[in-house]
Structures are given as C-alpha cells and as structure tokens.
C-alpha cells in the first residue's frame, strides 16, 4: 500500500481529485448561495406587496380596519406572519405569539425567532424574515414570512454538497487505486526483468502490452538498446576467444623455445639463437597485439575526432613508393594510378590499410614462376572515392571471400607464411570507421580488393556527383 501511495500515477490522480473537489465545492456553494438569495428576494417581495395592501387598508379605515384585516389574514393557513401591537409591545392582532423583546423597537428589515400564537413556550421557535413599521398613534405593525422553506433548501444543498464530496472522494480513490495498481504491475514486471538482465541474462527483454502506449514505447527502446548491447557483448566474447587462441599459440611457441634452450647442455651459440628466436616471436606477438588494439579502436569509432581532410591519392602514392623497391626485388611490377582524391580520414590508418593490402598482394598475389603484377588505383565513383589493390595471383575462392575479412582467418594456403591474419579485418574496421566499405572480387585471374570511402564534401566533384 505504501508503494502504491508513492507512485507517480497515484500522486497525479490525487492532485486531480483535489482540484475536482475544489471545483465541485465551488459550483455547489455558488448554486446554494444564489438559490438562497433568490428565495430571500421572493420573500421580501411578497412581504413588500402585503405591506402595501395593509397600508391601503390603514389609509382607508385606520387602526380598526387594519386590526380586522390582520386578524382575518392571520387566520388563513400559510407562511405569512402578521402582528399589530402597541408601542410597549402588547399584541392587538395577528398570528404571532411571542417575539424576542425589543424586536418591534427598530423599524426596518429583520430576521428573528418567533413562536406562533397558541404555541407554548416549550415549543421550538421558528425563524422569520419580517418588516417592522411604526404606525401613527404609536402602534407597531410587523409583516413577515416564515423561513422554514428557505432553510430546508439550504439543508438540501448542504447535504448534497457533502454527499457528492464523499462520492467523488471514494470513487477517485478507488480509481486511483486500480489505475495505479495496473501501472505498478507493469512497472514491477519491467523492474523484475531488468534485474534479471543485470544478473547476466542478456537474452531477456522487457514485456510490452502491445498497446503502443508510453510504457510500451519506453520498453521498446530499452529493448532495442539491450539488443545492441547483446550484439556488442557477443562480439566482445568472440574477440576475446580469438585473442585467447591466437595469442596463446605464439606464447606457447615462445615458452617452448626458452624451455628447449634450457634443457640441453647448450652452447653459447645455441643460447643466442634461442634468445633471438624468442625476441622475434615476441615482436610478432606485439605486432598482433597492436593490430588488435587498432581494430578495437577503429571499431569503437572513437578515433573520429582524429580525422582531417587528407588526399587518398597521395597516401596511395606514398605507400606505393614505400613498397616499390620491395616489389622490384620480388620481381613484381607495382603500378600506382592515383590522382588527387580528398577524403576525410586518418592518414595513419588509411596508410596502414593500404600498406597491408599492398603487402598482402606482394606476398600472396603471384603464381610461382610468373612475373607478378600489382596495381593500385584511386578513382572517383559517384559520391565515393574508390581505391583498388589488384594482383594476378591465385585469388580467393568465392566461398572464402567473406570469411577472410574476419579476425585471424588465414586460409590454409597462407598459413605457412608470416602474418597475423589481421590485415584484412583491420582494413574492414578502418573502412567502417570512415563510413565506407571493403569488398573482395575476382580479378580474373587474381584478387581485387576494393576500398570505398565517401569523398570529402569540399571536393567539387563530389558536390555534384552526376557531372
């Protein structure tokens, strides 16, 4: 019950109820007041008319005539009251038995208690509204009306007011209770579910009622968020599994080398060789680790602020120039066809990616016994800047093309050669970070890697892609 009272729904309903009761009170109060006034006006009008009639009688027949008329009218049944009395208050005629003393001393409108003629002093006095006159000869005349009708009306209004207040309160509180309980039930269900999700059940989703109300909309967006978190967590898990596997393998090799050197009665030379091997192995590990960090950073997308306008063509030419002697030595013709191509990006990351692609092409992109050929191009395609690195090697089978973009995937054919298996997945992550994509195609024969990035908006050719 306590939790029910502290809910938002209940508070809102209570506030509305308060306003409603205030309003109802005002309306009923005003109605009652207006009715009272109306009734009082009618009474005074009646009295005034009666007084006028009596005044005419008095004018015609003096006090004697007046006493006759008053006696006659006073005996009729009804709410009208009359009294003719001497200056000292001794009644002469009329249907009033008793008045509070001094009532007749002040001419004008009064409201007063009275008893009818013939009622005993033990009876409850009535209320009346009346007008008092002084008549020539020091007589007093009182004409009035009983107020019982008016007062009964006031009681009816008062009772009605209290009753409606009670009904409104009871209904309002009941309504508040049920509405709040309904809302509370749904919120409690959501709270339970989120506690379960916090405890580790990431597959859980908040219940929705299907009514598209505000709670459903809230639950819907929380569920979308949970979906994203679940996907990220799955990705994280996959990455850590891969890291565990692919870092442990070289670590084991490293350890084996050290152990092997310690086991035999090795010469200085053998120790030196083992230590050199260990350093090489750890350099490889560091390289893998760095690549993983770069991928993670690129995928988290928090390097966006490090981006600046760069020329993709210039970066490609720079990398081409860096690798040209290597290609030359390997008997591969490396051709770079790249004009200026402004994009927004990180020179370091793009350079690293192009270097990886060229490095891959030089390592795997040739058939034994044939002259190799690696071509790097940068060109505009609609709103995109497109970089391709193509070779004339054995290529990659259709089935494997999607797979090689994943982390650590190295095709059987390349396992024997050095490399971390992260080059292409870094390229894919960097492409995504730049808002672009990467694709592998058949170069007939060979492999063609296409990196597609959005061109800079300040490139005049990109501003009007149709031209």
């Amino acid at each position: 019950m306590r939790s029910l009272l502290s809910t938002t729904a209940f508070k809102i309903i209570a506030a509305y109820l308060f306003i409603f009761v205030l309003f109802a009170g005002f309306v009923i109060g005003w109605l009652g007041f207006a009715t009272q006034r109306q009734l009082t006006d009618q009474l005074t009008e009646t009295i005034t008319a009666e007084v006028r009639g009596l005044a005419e009688q008095f004018a015609v027949g003096g006090i004697r005539r007046l006493v006759e008329v008053v006696d006659e009218r006073g005996n009729r049944p009804g709410a009208s009251l009359y009294l003719v009395a001497t200056f000292s208050g001794v009644p002469i005629a009329g249907n009033i038995g008793e008045l509070p003393s001094g009532t007749l001393g002040r001419p004008g409108w009064i409201e007063t208690d009275y008893r009818r003629a013939g009622e005993s002093a033990t009876d409850r006095p009535h209320r009346a509204i009346a007008q008092v006159f002084g008549l020539p000869g020091n007589f007093r005349l009182l004409v009035g009306r009983d107020l019982e009708d008016r007062d009964r009306m006031r009681d009816i209004f008062g009772r009605g007011f209290r009753l409606s207040l009670l009904v409104a309160l009871v209904l309002g509180l009941l309504g508040a209770y049920f509405v709040t309980r309904r809302v509370l039930k749904r919120v409690d269900a959501m709270t339970d579910m989120s506690r379960r999700i916090m405890d580790g059940d990431l597959t859980g989703r908040l219940p929705t009622g299907g009514s598209r109300d505000e709670l459903d909309r809230l639950a819907g967006s929380v569920n979308d968020m949970l979906g994203r978190i679940e996907a990220l967590m799955a990705g994280m898990k996959e990455v850590s599994d891969n890291i565990a596997h692919d870092l442990k393998t070289p670590l084991t090799r490293l350890r084996n080398k050290a152990e092997e050197a310690l086991r035999g009665e090795a010469s200085d030379e053998a120790y030196r060789a083992a230590l050199t091997g260990i350093i090489e192995e750890s350099d490889g590990l560091i390289r893998t680790f760095n690549a993983l960090l770069m991928i993670a950073r690129a995928e988290a997308g928090n390097q966006r602020d490090g981006m600046a306008p760069v020329d993709l063509g210039e970066i490609a030419r720079g990398v081409g120039e860096l690798y040209e002697p290597v290609a030359d030595e390997a008997g591969v013709t490396l051709t770079v066809a790249a004009g200026p191509m402004p994009v927004t990006g990180s020179r370091e990351l793009l350079g690293q990616v192009i270097a990886n692609l060229v490095d891959n092409a030089l390592k795997y992109g040739r058939v034994e016994g044939q002259a190799g050929e690696v071509t790097v191009t940068v060109a505009a395609d609609g709103p995109d800047a497109v970089l391709t690195v193509a070779d004339r090697g054995p290529g990659i089978a259709d089935a494997d093309r999607g797979r090689v973009l994943d982390r650590f995937v190295r095709l059987e054919t390349s396992r024997s050669r050095p490399g971390s298996g992260l080059g292409l997945s870094l390229a894919a992550a960097v492409a995504r970070l730049h808002g672009g994509s990467i694709a592998l195609d058949d170069n007939r024969p060979g492999l063609k890697v296409t990196l597609r990035l959005p061109r800079s908006a300040d490139d005049p050719r990109a501003a009007n892609p149709s031209s």
């Binding site: 350093i279 760095n290 960090l293 860096l322 002697p325 290597v326 690293q352 490095d359 490399g419």
Partner: protein, 227 residues
Amino acid sequence: MQTMRILIIEDDREAASYLTKAFREAGHVADHAADGEDGLAMAMDGPYDVLIVDRMLPKKDGLSVIGDLRSAGRDTPVLILSALGQVDDRVKGLRAGGDDYLPKPYSFSELLARVEVLSRRRSSGSAPETVYKVADLELDRLSHRVSRGGEDIILQPREFRLLEYLMKNAGQVVTRTMLLEHVWDYHFDPQTNVIDVHVSRLRSKIDKGFERPLIHTIRGAGYTVRA
C-alpha cells in the same frame, strides 16, 4: 658518443632497474625516480641531458611533469614511454612538450638510439649545418647535391632524404622505425622489411665501387653512417 646523464621517471621498479643497468652498460649515467613528483623535482635540480618519462605515473602523470618542466623554462629533451601506442596518444604526448614518443614494449636498442639522437641534438645546438660531411661523402642540403670523392651521385628525392637523415645523425645508430617516422612520416608498422630494401638501394649508390663503406648495418638495431 660521449657520456649522457639520463633521468628515468618510471614507476615499474623492474623496468627502471633494467633500463638503469642497460644505460650504464652503454657507458651513460642513469638516475631513477619512481613517481611524478620526485621525477619533476630531480629534473628541475639535476643537469640531465635527456629525460625518459613514463606516461602513467603515481602522484603526477607524465604529461603534467613535462608541462610543469616546460613552463619552468627547462628545455631538456624528453622521450615519452607509454603503453598507449596509438597515433592520437603520440600526438598528445608531443603536444604536451615531449620530443619523442616510444610505445611499450620497446627494444632497448631502439630506446638507446632515440635517446642518443635527442641528446646530441641538444649539445650541437647552434645553427643547423647546410652541408653534411662524412669522410669523402658530401650532402648539400640547399642545392640537394650529393657527391662522393668529388663525383656527383644522382639520388631520388626519397633517397636524398634518407641519406640526409642518416648523415644528420652521423656516428649514431638510427633504427628502422626512426627512418620510417622521419623520412616517410609514417608511424605504422609496414610489416615487411621495406626500410632495409630502401637502405640497400641507397647503399648501392653510395658505397658501391668504394673501398670503404660508409653505411653500416648494426645488427638488431638499425643503421649508421660513419667513416
């Protein structure tokens, strides 16, 4: 190489004692501070040639140590060591007043080569030379002419810059990463021995046909140009 006084500000005792020992074996004097405040105090008092500052330090982080040092008007060269190896971390370090940045893990030969270059840059101080000379090899930085034994050698622009950097640091070991950073302005790992191929091309132009080679390979470290 003359003796350098080096201050190592590094909180990992093992790494620090390894570095201190290695620098002493290389003929230098090395002191150690274990946190940022001590390090700053020692750097302000002592006449050090080079400071090696770890980025993450107790009490005062590496970048604020460098910032305070620079605001106090000290221009002692600083090499930043950091586990954060990304490009933007490097830029942050250099912007804070560092002169060089080396991500962990590093090889000692790489660190030594960089520290020696930093220290010599400071001691040579005066106006930059326009002509570098090593034995009978001459490189004119203004006319971009290279000659050996009085005969002109034609170099590609990149080959020229490679030789220029090697000769600027003549007598000192220059690592492959240093060459990649200063000649190509790349801070990534090119995976392959690209630098070796470039140097061997340069060597074939400079040393071929001469009795005494000038470009030497230092095993496990890099290259040096000396007579």
